[in-house]
Symmetry: C2
Subunit: 131 residues, 2 copies
């Protein structure tokens, strides 16, 4: 398995090209936003290195890279909350990817126990839980 | 205007607390995902420093921090694509924020001319534009 991705050489290639040329940051990571393929709800934001992105594309299950553990991470491997990937998108300057997934297991995505990691709203400067 | 935010001292405060305690990275930035308040579509991923987050909360219009220009950026100030903020959420470990916005101007969010920055799908390893 090759994990390497090409680099776009012009803005036009980057923005309108047909070649997936993700722009990983100085730490070799790219931001991944994961939404529920059925509802569109934003479930989580995480990070991918080239290997995680490659595994996600090749296996059809979401893989990420844990910055705190500095390790590749197959989502749900321990929790059962595997994420079956329905669609992968990339943004205009290819420094972020968008996954549309079907969460497996209990259907959740957040280690705290909520369906989505974004279970708190900022209201009047304070956080209010609202599932 | 104070731009400073507090720091959570325990995981419980971070994950279940009522205090907004965003965790900016080593560059002082936090990831922001912006969705359309009406359709839920993911429009863009960008970055905020503390000042951008504070201005977003205080003014009700999305502000970001441009990594390439190293400058605060009020979305739409030149393009007219201002983003009126309907809701701000934060994720479990407070290292990402989610904005639900009503795009102004022509209703778009992407400088390339699409409604969303995520106008390309990965199909068979190649990128296909699909608005």
């Amino acid at each position: 398995m090759t994990t390497a991705f090409p680099t776009a050489s012009t803005d036009r290639e980057l923005e309108r090209g047909q070649v997936l040329a993700p722009r990983f940051d100085a730490n070799g990571l790219i931001c991944a936003v994961t939404t529920h393929a059925g509802t569109g709800e934003v479930l989580m934001v995480a990070w991918m290195n080239a290997e995680a992105l490659r595994l996600t594309l090749d296996t059809g299950f979401a893989h990420y890279f844990s910055r705190s553990r500095q390790a590749l991470w197959k989502k749900g491997e321990t929790s059962g909350q595997l994420q079956q990937v329905v669609e992968v998108r990339v943004d205009c300057d290819q420094d972020a990817v968008l996954l549309k997934v079907r969460p497996q297991g209990d259907g959740g995505a957040c280690h705290v126990g909520f369906r989505s990691c974004f279970y708190r709203v900022v209201e009047g400067g304070a956080l209010v839980e609202r599932d």
